[in-house]
Symmetry: C2
Subunit: 584 residues, 2 copies
């Protein structure tokens, strides 16, 4: 294997074009084999094999500095920079993350997992270089999908005026995570169709030199294009056309499904584990489609990830105008939803917990100050969700629940989730955020409330004494276990409460608990700092009530095991009961 | 006066062009007179008088819907829509806010005070209209300054593909709050210079019809331009050239200072109150300039508001390459700072508390996950700062202090502020946020610590017993008053603590307080929810310590009086002492 000879980018420079082509084949095979076992961002990585080889052939990393936007295309870069074993040897597959990671290699500058930041970061690298009087090349690699995020445009505008070396490599595969939608993509299409010669070139408009390379999957073409801009003394955009999923038929023909793909059979392209069966994604997609039939003003919206609410192609077609994917534009998504709600529409906007971080200001200003009835569905808001440090799902609760006017709901099971969603869509008074429960679908064996307009009214599901357990959202089941364990082992019946609202307190209930309770414990699937439990502790601060807050620690973890994390924070019924028994 | 005849936009339609011109003169005079008494966004409003009259002459508000970006140009709109008395009659000056406000008039759709959202909101209005099958015109009014914010581009991209009526009125006065900087502005310059005919038109690139109107301060030209797009069936950008500060000589010639201006003498243009004397803006500007001389890698950065750190023209020129204004791009600002820090630079980024809301994700992902030593200066983080509902300064603390790895410092006086800033710039281990003290400069009569690398080490400034007062940042002075009051009135010496760090707890100190204290009180210039005090309450939840948290309520207030607000929340030394005495 040629790969045997590649221990650092320097080794690449000794290969012939013919060998580089063969290397690309080897890399692609290695990527496919690893991803068929582990899953991964298959589509974008397969499309960027040749460009990555050309980058490291032409430039001198780590002296020259490359920033990979969202790092979904960085696997080949990792293979070429000291980390091939983590792709070749299955026992080392877990040695590297799916994102660029400075802890792994000096060739990785940043841990990056959110989109549209690469040009801005590259502007910073370039500016610091200029201040220090050095001369290295600074390269921002950004996909056409990531280019839709507003920050990319902010970076483009700033970068255009730096006046020194800045190379923006635009990897255009005519695809975001799902389809591309906005006017930007009509423009990129025109540029591709005209081989970069069409009028109204936005990159030139901003002041960039602009180079188009049609053959982004051809190593020779890519080397030539990059050699042409190496050591350039001004900002340049190199727009290359690549094929998403290149070299793997199933990924080439179904580019949306294969953007990220779970473990699969390499021969057939079939998933190793069936994802079929009941889940919250399918359920909410069907629910929304049905509700749309009776309400032409209801609209489901997402920012490039329609899968967050199960909107596959069939659902999108069935919804027609009542579905919108606004590209990777969370800020726009929330402001647009405010506009829709203001003019009589009924927007339901969904994305991952971690991506709402992009839209705090729009939720606060446009939606909450204006008290507009937008329904926000938060997916993966849980320690049980994605365990990459850039995609943690335990910040949204304290981030959003402290915004005035927002009703932040944490359903504990399927029926409660849909009752809350139904109430939210039908009411006109409040902005509402609902944290979609995480994990397998849990059904309630009791009827759930339909009306949530008594804001901050907690629900007592078991009346007891001495200890009250306030267990929020999908940690309610832990609360049930604690309640049962107390009855069994400590011989009294504690009170169990489903708070439902994370954004406010039920002071009537909290006051009533003082009569015959000594301990209140709170359990939440969120960092404790700024969350629900600390509000309870503060409320009881001037009383004799003991309050124990259980939740996650304010820290960044990467590639963690959720069960271990929970145990390390003392969040298991055994640990909680043991702590309670020490107080008695 | 012609204005006597204008009670609603309908009245406008009966006037001749000659009368409309006269009306513009009257409006401008009214605006000048009011702003000379009250201050206000003078520059943008004076430039948009004719366009506002033309808008209401051509369109039929409120059926047709106008969204005013950041609403800094909405005063004439207010005068023409039922609210002229609030501009003509000094006793009614306070009847209206400086922003569009639905509570005032059905002609105002949203409360808006942050930039770059208008196109997104207009997209939402248009989408809801289309779902409902109506036909009204939707107009987004956006200034060239606001166009630099990434969300404007997200909105432009989405709006281009709506396929129905959407009118983007781009009010180009070649000026943001301060100068404009990015590549976008070279493009707008080309468009103006060529009267809209230059190549590489970015609006056409996105798919918009594009119309250029050079005479944006000419009513006849504006009416003609707008009549041409009324009831259009597809998205259009109408790019108009106006003059910031039009019609008032001092504002025309010094457009930066007059963007917003305090009360002034209309004849001379002189401020009614001198702003001279020592303040934190001047002090930090001089400090940074001095520090830059010894550190060529130090760079001061802002997003369109250089005044937040006192960087007037002289300071900017003196700093040269070591100062950057990135336009209204908070997201880019923070990501770029991450890049600078990564490549050996020393970025100090500053903006208002409320605008950091735009960059939570970049602070969390790019700076804090990557642990890059960026110094963040938060201005106006206080109940004593701007009292507009869109600019509240009491959310930043709980927003940012709950981000892992960020050291959030709250200095209590001038010397401590500069010691913290100096430490932050010189260290390389932590991202640091510093809340600039608010109000008149308070000097310390004791030496302050120079080294803040013992993270979360609180400072005991008075050792006592029974009650410990933890008073954060610029509420430390209230803590001092409480401590003195307790000594005087309750006859014991309480402990007084300057916590300094809002992002973590000094558990050693907190544990030691258990020995001889019954009550801990916290005082912070921030909402209590998610803030510092609740962490203390949670820490002591399982003990006998009583904890009282003082701070602001989680609510949106507009045009409030800070002193009244503090009293209503019980935040005065009298109220706090009285509550303590009830416990004893």
């Amino acid at each position: 294997m040629l790969l045997d000879r590649i221990d650092s980018p320097d080794n690449l420079k000794l290969l012939s074009i013919h060998e580089l082509r063969k290397l690309a084949e080897e890399v692609r095979e290695v990527l496919l084999t690893k991803m068929s076992c582990n899953g991964g961002h298959l589509g974008p990585n397969l499309g960027f094999v040749e460009a990555s080889i050309a980058l490291h052939y032409v430039f001198n990393s780590p002296k020259d500095k490359m920033v990979f936007d969202v790092s979904h295309q960085s696997y080949t870069h990792k293979i070429l920079t000291d980390r091939k074993n983590a792709f070749i040897d299955p026992t080392h597959y877990k040695d590297v993350t799916g994102y660029t990671e400075p802890k792994e290699s000096e060739h990785d500058l940043f841990t990056i997992g959110h989109t549209s930041t690469s040009i801005s970061m590259a502007c910073g690298l370039a500016k610091a270089r200029d201040l220090a009087g050095r001369k290295e090349n600074i390269i921002a690699v950004i996909g056409d999908g990531s280019l839709s995020g507003g920050e990319a445009y902010e970076g483009l505008s700033c970068g255009a005026k730096l006046g020194t070396n800045l190379i923006v490599l635009l990897n255009d595969n005519n695809m975001s995570i799902s389809n591309v939608n906005g006017g930007l993509y009509g423009h990129l299409q025109d540029l591709r169709d005209s081989k970069g010669t069409c009028s109204n070139n936005m990159f030139k408009a901003f002041g960039y030199e602009y180079i188009y390379e049609e053959n982004g999957n051809n190593i020779e073409s890519m080397i030539s294009a990059l050699e042409g801009v190496k050591d350039i003394d001004h900002p340049v955009v190199v727009h290359i056309h690549t094929q998403k999923g290149k070299g793997y038929k199933p990924a080439e023909s179904n580019r949306e499904d294969w953007h990220w793909f779970p473990p699969f059979n390499k021969e057939t392209g079939e998933k190793r584990r069936s994802m079929a069966g009941e889940n919250y994604d399918n359920l909410v997609a069907d629910y929304l489609l049905e509700k749309m039939k009776f309400n032409p003003n209801l609209i489901a919206m997402c920012a490039a990830v329609p899968a967050t609410i199960g909107f596959d192609k069939a659902h999108r077609e069935a919804a027609g105008k009542q579905f919108m994917d606004v590209d990777i534009c969370e800020q726009h998504l929330l402001s647009m939803a405010a506009g829709i709600a203001k003019n009589g529409g009924k927007p339901v906007v969904a994305t991952f917990s971690t991506f709402f971080q992009r839209a705090y200001d729009q939720i606060s200003q446009d939606i909450c100050i204006n008290k507009l009835p937008v329904t926000i569905l938060i997916r993966n808001g849980s320690v049980w969700a994605g365990n990459d440090v850039t995609h943690l799902g335990w910040f949204d609760l304290s981030l959003l629940s402290n915004i005035p006017n927002l009703v932040f709901l944490c359903p504990t099971n399927c029926e409660e989730y849909f009752a809350m969603l139904d109430w939210s869509i039908d009411q006109n008074r409040y902005p509402v955020a609902i944290r979609i429960p995480r994990g397998k679908v849990i059904h309630s064996d009791k009827p759930v409330d339909k009306d949530y307009s008594k804001i901050n009214k907690f629900k007592v599901t078991q009346k007891g004494n001495k200890v009250a357990i306030l267990a929020l959202g999908d940690f309610f089941q832990i609360g049930e276990d604690v309640a049962m364990g107390i009855s069994d082992r400590l011989n009294f019946i504690p009170t169990l409460v489903n708070p439902r609202y994370a954004s406010g307190l039920d002071s009537t209930l909290l006051d009533s608990l003082k009569e015959n309770h000594h301990i209140v414990i709170t359990i939440e699937d969120s960092i404790v700092d700024g969350g629900f439990g600390q509000k309870i502790a503060s409320y009881y601060g001037n009383t004799d009530m003991k309050v124990l807050n259980y939740g996650l620690k304010k820290e960044f973890l990467d590639g963690y095991n959720a069960q271990e994390v929970l145990l390390s924070y003392g969040i298991s019924s055994d640990q909680i009961i043991s702590q309670i028994s020490q107080i008695f």
